[in-house]
Amino acid sequence: MATSSLLQFTGKSIYCAQAEAHIDPWIPVDRAIITHAHSDHARWGSRHYLAHKDSEPILRLRLGPDISLQTVEYGEKFVINGVVFSLHPAGHIIGSAQVRVEYKGEVWVASGDYKLEDDHFAKPFEPVKCNVFITESTFGLPIYKWQPQQEVFSEIDNWWRQNKNEDKASVLMGYSLGKMQRILKNIELQDHVLYAHGAIYTLNERLRQAGFDLPELTLVTKETDRKLFRGALVLAPPSVDSSTWIKKFAPYSLGYCSGWMALRGAKNRRAVDQGFVLSDHVDWPDLNTAVRESGAEKVYVTHGYTSIFSRWLNENGIEAGEVHTMYGNEDENEEEEAVQDNTVVPNEPGQ
C-alpha cells in the first residue's frame, strides 16, 4: 500500500497521517479515535481520546475516570488538519461507531466491529457510502448464518422456564459489554430478581447511572442466600465456567450466548448445557450486504477470516486486501476483566 493512503495499517493502529490521528490504537498515542469500548479496541495510555458519547461511561470505567475524552454524536463532523471525520452507528454495542474519514473528496470508513440486526439497545447499523471500506471478518465463513434474534431469545426464555420448573438456577454466560445488555433488552424478564456476577453488575450499574434504560441487577455475593438461586436467572461472563464461583448455584443449567455456539465442536468444548447462537458481529450474508451497501471500490479485511473473505471478494469483483491487526480477542480480555472484577468484589469463598 502506498504511504500516501488516507488511512494506513501500522500493525498497531489504523493511522491517518494527515490528521495525525489513530483509530483504535494498541499503543499509547497522542490522538486516539475509538470505535467502541471493548478492550481489544479501546486501549489505555493515549493522551486524547475521541469517541461516541454513549461510549463515555464505559471508557471512563475501563480506561480511568480522568482520561482526556471528547465525545461526539453520530453524524457530527469534526475536522483535524483538513480531514473531515464523523462517527456513524455500527450496531455492535452501545456507542459503537464506524469512523468515516474524508479528505480531498476521498472517503474511507473504518467500521470497527458491527452487526446489521437491530438489538434494541445499540443504535442500529447505518450503511455509509465510501471509496474504501475496512471491515472485520470475525464470522467471515458461509457456515455462519444467524437465525433471527427473536428465535434465540425465545430459546432462552424456554430454557429458563424449564430450569425453573426443575428448580434449577439458569446461569447464562456472555460478554458483559454488549451481549448482556442485549439479553436484558430482549428476553422476558417476568419481574424476577436478576442475579449478576461482579463484572456484569458493575457495568450495568454504570450504564444505569449514565441514564440508560436497563433493569436493576442484584450482585451475587458471598452472603447471598443460595436458596434464592433456585429458578433464578444468573448472568455471568464467559470465564466463570471453570471457576469455583459457579458452584454456589448448584443445581444449575449452564447456557452460553455466542456466535461460536453455531459449531458443535465449540459447544461441546465449552461443556455448556445450552449454546445460544447469538453474536454482535455480522454473519456471512450480512457481511456481504454491508460490503455491497458501502459501495466501496476497495475493501480491507481485518480480524477474523481475513484471507478467506478477501479472496472471496476478489473473486466477486471487489478489490480486497487482508490486513493484520491486533483486534478480535474480546474473549481473552473478557476473562482478564472478569478476574479483575472478582478482586474488586470478593465473592469467591476461600480465595
Binding site: I143, L263, R264, G265, R269
Partner: protein, 532 residues
C-alpha cells in the same frame, strides 16, 4: 427422524452419564420398534454403507450453497466435520416438515446404491430440502456412514436393559456379534426369550482396570493369579455347531484373517469359547506388536506375509464349555477347565496357555515387573482366583499393571486443527527431536494427554507463532517441549527419522525445558537398540 435427531442433539449436549441413559431409555420406551432397531444399529457402531462418494457430496453441497469449492473446503477445515459443514452452508429450506421416520429414511438411503450419479444427486438434494439443520446433520452422518456418538456400549446396554426390564448382561450379549437390522427385528434381537440361534455370537469381553497404588494393596497374594499382559489383539475363539469363529476386541469377526488358527476347529470340543490374545509368534516365543501390525488390515494374506508374521493364540480364559455358559464359575475353576482342554490339543505351537507366574509374595512380582519388555509383555494381569467373568470394564477382580511407556522430550514443530469437539483449536501436533547439524527431525504425531486448559494455552501459543502454512498444517516456532511417551519403537524406512514409535502420546508439558534441551535422535536410536 425428528425424534432421533433430537435424541442425538440432546445426547451430544450432555456429558452426564445418567442424563444420557435417561435420554436413550426414553427413546427406547417411545420410538417404534423399527426405529429402535435402527437406533441400536447406530449406537452399537454399525454403519451401513450406501456407496456414496464424499467428494461428490461435497460438490453437490457447494453448488447448492452457491459457493466455490475452495470456500467449502475452508469452511470444512473450520468446522472439522463434513456432515455438519454441509448442514451449515446449505440454504435454509422453507419446508422442513418431513415426517419420515428414521426407518423410512434408511429405506430412502437404501435406494441409493442402485442409482446413477444424476439420480443420486437429485435424491440427496431432495432429502436436504426437506430436513432442518439438525436433521440434515444426522442424515449426512447416515449417508456417509460416519455416524458416531459419545455413548459407550455400556450406557446403551444400561438404557436398553432399563427400558425392557431385562438383565443388562443378557442385553450386552444379545447386541453383540453379527446381526443385520434389515434381517431381524427388535423383537427377535432383544426380546426373544428363546435360546439364541446365532452360533457365532461372542460374549462381551471382561476388561481390566489399571492398578491403583501399590500392588500390595490387593491383600493376600494367595488369592490372586498373575500372568504376563500380552501385547497382541484381544480375541475370542468360538467353536459351536462345528464352526469356528474368531472375534477381536473391536467386535470384528476376523476368522479369515488368522488361517493359522483354523486347525482349532478340528481339535476343540463343540460348544467351546476361549478368551485370549492373538500375538505374532516365532520359534515358540511371542514377538513385539509391530510384527503383527504388518498383517493387520491386509485384505490378502500372501504367503510371504504369513511366513514373516505368523500368529498364535495365547489363551487365558474359557467362557463356555460343552455348550454351557460358565462365566459365573470362579476364575480358578475356569482356569482348570482351560488347562484340561489345552492338554487335549495337539499342535500346541499355535495354541498356547498364558502361563501363571509363580509367586508367593508381592515383592517377587515387583522384581519381575521390569522384565516385562524382555518377555514381550506390557506388564502383568492380576486376577482374583474367586472372580467370575464379568461384562465390560469393572473394578475389583481384574487389574492390569502396565510398565511405564518409553519416553523422550520433544519439540512441537507442526500443528493442525482438530475435528469434532476440538474443531477450531490446534490439537494435532507433530513433535521433533534434534538430529545432526542442529536440525529438528519430526518423529511422532500425538493428540491426547493434555488437559483442556493446556490445550487452550498451547493453541494460544500456536496461533501467535505460526511460521508457515501448508494446507491445513502450520509450522510453529519451535519452542514448546513435551514429554512424549510411546509403547514400542522400531526401525522404519518410511519416516525421515528412520524410526517409528507405537502409540505416541503426550505425557506432560515440560514448561521447565527450553527447546534446546529436548532429546536427540541419537537418544531415540539408543532406545531402539535397547529394545530391538
Amino acid at each position: 427422524m425428528k425424534q432421533f435427531a433430537e435424541l442425538f442433539m440432546n445426547l451430544d449436549r450432555t456429558n452426564k452419564t445418567n442424563a444420557k441413559v435417561e435420554l436413550m431409555k426414553n427413546y427406547f420406551l417411545t420410538a417404534s420398534d423399527e426405529d429402535k432397531l435402527w437406533a441400536l444399529t447406530l449406537f452399537t457402531g454399525r454403519r451401513p454403507s450406501f456407496k456414496v462418494n464424499r467428494t461428490q457430496v461435497k460438490e453437490w453441497a457447494a453448488e447448492e450453497a452457491d459457493i466455490p469449492m475452495w470456500l467449502f473446503q475452508e469452511s470444512y477445515h473450520s468446522v472439522g466435520d463434513l456432515g455438519e459443514t454441509i448442514s451449515l452452508i446449505l440454504p435454509r429450506s422453507a419446508a422442513t416438515d418431513s415426517d419420515r421416520s428414521l426407518t423410512e429414511w434408511f429405506d430412502y438411503l437404501h435406494a441409493l446404491p442402485a442409482m446413477t450419479e444424476g439420480e443420486k444427486r437429485t435424491h440427496i438434494l431432495n432429502a436436504w430440502a426437506q430436513l432442518s439443520k439438525h436433521e440434515t446433520f444426522v442424515f449426512n452422518k447416515l449417508l456417509m456412514g460416519s455416524f458416531r456418538i459419545g455413548v459407550s456400549q455400556t450406557l446403551v446396554v444400561r438404557a436398553l436393559a432399563e427400558a425392557t426390564e431385562t438383565d443388562s448382561n443378557v442385553i450386552a450379549h444379545r447386541i453383540m456379534g453379527q446381526w443385520d437390522p434389515s434381517q431381524t427385528t427388535f423383537e427377535q434381537l432383544i426380546l426373544d426369550k428363546g435360546e439364541n440361534d446365532n452360533a457365532s455370537r461372542p460374549y462381551p469381553f471382561f476388561l481390566a482396570y489399571p492398578i491403583e497404588g501399590d500392588i500390595s494393596g490387593l491383600g493376600n497374594p494367595e488369592d490372586w493369579f498373575a500372568e504376563w499382559k500380552w501385547d497382541g489383539i484381544r480375541s475370542q475363539i468360538i467353536y459351536r455347531n462345528n464352526e469356528l469363529f474368531i472375534w477381536t476386541r473391536g467386535e470384528e469377526l476376523s476368522t479369515d484373517k488368522f488361517p493359522e488358527l483354523h486347525f482349532l476347529s478340528s481339535v476343540l470340543p463343540n460348544g467351546t469359547v476361549l478368551d485370549g490374545e492373538i500375538v505374532s509368534y516365532f520359534d515358540n516365543k511371542p514377538m513385539p506388536f509391530n510384527v503383527l501390525q504388518t498383517r493387520i488390515g491386509r485384505k490378502n494374506l500372501s504367503k510371504k506375509v504369513l511366513e514373516e508374521a505368523p500368529v498364535a493364540f495365547i489363551a487365558y480364559d474359557i467362557l463356555e464349555a460343552n455348550g454351557i455358559d460358565i462365566r459365573d464359575w470362579p476364575q480358578s475353576q475356569r482356569r482348570a477347565q482351560l488347562e484340561t482342554i489345552h492338554q487335549n490339543v495337539p499342535g500346541q505351537s499355535y495354541f498356547n496357555l498364558s502361563p501363571l507366574i509363580d509367586f508367593k509374595e508381592w515383592s517377587e512380582l515387583h522384581d519381575l515387573h521390569p522384565l516385562s519388555r524382555q518377555n514381550i509383555a506390557e506388564g502383568f494381569m492380576i486376577k482374583r482366583k474367586s472372580s467370575t467373568y464379568q461384562v465390560g470394564r469393572k473394578k475389583g477382580d481384574w487389574w492390569k499393571w502396565k510398565i511405564n511407556p518409553l519416553s523422550v522430550d520433544a519439540v512441537l514443530i507442526y500443528a493442525q486443527k482438530g475435528s469434532g469437539r476440538r474443531a477450531e483449536l490446534f490439537t494435532d501436533y507433530t513433535f521433533a527431536v534434534w538430529g545432526e547439524d542442529k536440525k529438528l527431525i519430526p518423529f511422532a504425531k500425538a493428540y491426547s494427554g493434555l488437559t483442556d486448559a493446556e490445550i487452550g494455552q498451547v493453541d494460544y501459543f500456536i496461533k501467535r507463532n505460526i511460521l508457515e502454512k501448508f494446507g491445513p498444517v502450520r509450522t510453529v516456532k519451535p519452542e514448546l517441549v513435551f514429554e512424549i511417551g510411546f509403547e514400542g519403537i522400531n526401525e522404519s524406512s518410511r519416516h525421515k527419522s528412520g524410526i517409528a514409535v507405537r502409540f505416541p502420546r503426550i505425557l506432560r508439558w515440560r514448561k521447565d525445558k527450553k527447546a534446546e534441551e529436548a532429546d536427540t535422535l541419537e537418544s531415540l536410536k539408543g532406545i531402539l537398540e535397547m529394545y530391538k
